[in-house]
């Protein structure tokens, strides 16, 4: 078995999600090669070479890969990937953008959001917003899939000593161009990797109140902040904070849902958290059914009291 893992990065540093994909690759077993497609991304390749379990790093350094445009990166992945038994990437927006395109170029089917490896060609994945788990067997010569990071424990970032080789660029496909990017800056831990997540929903009332009530709690716990779709649609917080089927999937040790009713689409994004706490004024809220501890009360008084007592 030979597995190609597509590295997730920003040309400067390797994204932690890649370590979870390598973990899934180890469950399949075989030689693991990491492909770094970027521009001026030598540091990323060096970092990938140190990851435990990686036997080789391929670095494709070209301006065409600077912004991970799917049209260019998928072409490269397809040209390199044909010789591998598996091609894996993280189930991030980048992985989901690039990998299906590469799979179609290779004329093979793809498996999205792998949460368990049952065998070299057999995997589990959630369907219907996580309300069912399908076991899928691939009959393709090359198994292509994205891996849900929260389902696999990351491998060590240090300890490996893989060789870095240059890969031939397939160039710019000439059909797409990067224009601009608007990245939300935050001092807090990254949402999908945080140990504790504090999330607010429609119940927090406003963007101002979201920060007034939840910032102190997140600060005290060193937690990342999330939100329900209702809170994002109401404009309380930016959309990259959305947890759910259509947002990010998280599985922290502790998830605190404040003013969130618990719609199916939200539960799909957080119900694998180890401990769930719900603070809601509604005794009948669906979130209480998945919560380990739930407290009925006004979040405007309960949350500040909680901050003062932890």
């Amino acid at each position: 078995m030979s597995i190609l893992v597509i590295a997730e990065h920003d040309n400067k540093a390797l994204n932690g999600a890649t370590l979870n994909v390598v973990a899934a690759a180890q469950k399949i077993g075989g030689d693991i090669t990491v492909l770094v497609a970027g521009s001026g991304a030598q540091a990323v390749a060096d970092e990938a070479a140190k990851v435990a379990g990686v036997s080789k790093v391929l670095l494709a350094d070209d301006a065409a890969y600077a912004n991970q445009l799917a049209e260019n990166v998928a072409k490269l992945v397809a040209s390199i990937g044909a010789g591998y038994s598996h091609i894996l990437a993280a189930s991030t927006t980048t992985g989901k953008n690039v990998l299906p395109r590469a799979a179609a170029l290779l004329d093979v089917s793809m498996i999205t959001d792998i949460i368990a490896v049952d065998g070299p060609k057999t995997f589990k994945r959630p369907i219907y917003a996580g309300n069912a788990i399908a076991t899928v067997e691939s009959g393709e010569s090359v198994v292509v899939g994205t891996v849900r990071g929260t389902a696999f424990d990351a491998v060590a970032a240090e300890g490996g000593s893989a060789a870095v080789e240059a890969a031939t660029s397939t160039g710019d496909a000439g059909i797409s161009k990067f224009i601009s990017e608007e990245i939300v800056k935050s001092e807090r831990p990254e949402l999908t990797a945080a140990r504790i997540v504090v999330s607010g929903g429609r119940g927090v009332g406003s963007g101002e109140n979201y920060h007034k009530v939840l910032d102190p709690l997140a600060d005290k716990l060193g937690a990342a902040q999330g939100a329900s779709r209702a809170a994002v649609d109401a404009g309380f917080v930016p959309n990259d904070m959305q947890v759910g089927q259509t947002g990010k999937i998280v599985a922290p040790d502790l998830y605190i849902a404040v003013g969130i009713s618990g719609a199916i689409q939200h539960l799909a994004g957080m119900k694998d958290s180890k401990v769930i706490v719900a603070i809601n004024k509604d005794e009948e809220a669906p979130i209480n059914a998945v919560a380990d501890y739930w407290l009925v009360g006004d979040l405007n008084t309960v949350v500040p009291e909680l901050v003062s007592k932890i």
Partner: protein
């Protein structure tokens, strides 16, 4: 320019599905079916582009059972001009096969804009738009929250993990919609009546030379592990005590 919108018939987003006792799949008998919410957003975007004068004709296509006609009619009631149903057995189709059939439709119709939802809420694959982009050799603006057509190019603002990214694509291009692209309108009764008279062609995968059988075999479908019932705590003190001493997470 002509726009092609692909829509999928799926279980309604508000239905809590149940796994069949024999683990062969999800029980969909007597369950409410609708247009996939992301597809509805794609239809709405095409209609808005038509209202702005950018798009002249909207063709809506669905691949699935005969009943998917209902979803095509719904899209027509929202403003699509004509429909194509490619009748096929849903359970056989994978994303790659759907993309291949859509390529056949695109080759026949020659649209400049091809709009799809970013994912269907039943299989949650998030693949078809990207695969179609590859098969056509066209650019892809996935997870779109803003679309601006300018001459022979389209600028798409995409929702990415850290925030937003804007790309420019040559036409013809693929766009897959995210939830925040627009708010779909409701179909008015007169428009629902008019939609019944709009043309709807029926085709089969064989018309496009596609074998609809996917190489991904679903071995079984299970219900997810149930969480054990939690407890209601009466005070913040009790909550803090439980988190510290029982769950040991803070």
């Amino acid at each position: 320019m002509k726009a092609l919108v692909a829509v999928k018939r799926v279980v309604d987003a508000n239905v809590k599905v149940r796994v069949k006792p024999d683990n062969s799949g999800v029980d969909l008998t007597n369950v409410k079916m609708s247009i996939n919410p992301f597809c509805e957003i794609a239809v709405e975007e095409a209609v808005r582009l038509k209202e702005k004068g950018t798009v002249s004709e909207i063709v809506v296509v669905s691949i699935g059972p005969k009943e998917a006609q209902e979803q095509i009619r719904s899209a027509m009631a929202l403003g699509a001009d004509r429909g194509i149903l490619v009748e096929a057995d849903d359970s056989q189709l994978g994303a790659l096969e759907v993309a291949k059939i859509l390529k056949g439709v695109v080759d026949a119709e020659q649209p400049q804009l091809i709009l799809l939802g970013k994912q269907a809420i039943d299989d949650d694959s998030n693949q078809v738009g990207q695969m179609l982009g590859a098969l056509l050799g066209a650019g892809q603006g996935t997870f779109a929250s803003e679309v601006k057509v300018e001459g022979d190019k389209v600028q798409v603002t995409r929702e990415i993990d850290g925030g937003l990214q804007t790309v420019e694509l040559a036409l013809p291009a693929i766009i897959t919609t995210d939830l925040r692209l627009n708010e779909p309108r409701y179909a008015a009764l007169p428009n629902i009546m008019k939609a019944r008279k709009k043309p709807l062609d029926t085709k089969s995968p064989a018309d496009f030379g596609v074998n609809p059988a996917t190489k991904l075999k679903t071995v079984k479908v299970e219900a997810p592990a149930e969480r054990k019932a939690g407890v209601q705590v009466k005070s913040v003190d009790e909550l803090v005590e439980k988190l510290k001493n029982e769950a040991k997470v803070i």
